[in-house]
Symmetry: C2
Subunit: 112 residues, 2 copies
Amino acid sequence: MKVFDYTEIPAQEAEEGAKDVTVRWLITKDTGAPNFAMRLFEMKVSGYSPFHTHDWEHEVFILDGEGIVRSEQGDFPFKPGSVVFVPPNEMHQFRNTGKTLVRFLCLIPFKK
Amino acid sequence: MKVFDYTEIPAQEAEEGAKDVTVRWLITKDTGAPNFAMRLFEMKVSGYSPFHTHDWEHEVFILDGEGIVRSEQGDFPFKPGSVVFVPPNEMHQFRNTGKTLVRFLCLIPFKK
């Protein structure tokens, strides 16, 4: 068993195409996880992730802040306590449209 | 894509052996998830989950409240922002030893 504070994991710059976003890989294969990874993203005011797609899903829980998830079906607002499920192969982008830091968990499966 | 508030999912009594614990199954196969489920637990003051084991892992993030995770290696304290990884086949129990409601996310893989 491993128990630690999320701030013990360093924040790294997020992927190319993101603006003002960092990611902490909280639980990974190195932790011993067999199936999926837990990450915590922090997105500054006006920050965003790329509008993109990939063949794996996202399971997201919003911890702090407000914004929108952009999709091909339009924009969905989020706030603390929002749950977001993005299926594989669906275009998506997270945007901080509020006035405070956005923090959310985003879990993804390991690639087979 | 699905975006909703966690309170839209009803809280159910948790499993046998738990005391004062409810669970909301936020993301499941019915949501369209292919690999793993997201659940949110609420544990009242002095509540606990059973001290038990199973052949799947837990990936946990503490949202609110304070308590301990009991294991065969001793007790680990947790607080908001704590991350808990419980590997498959390891004994574990969550206990609310604080003075406020404990809320945490606990994600598990679907059984093959």
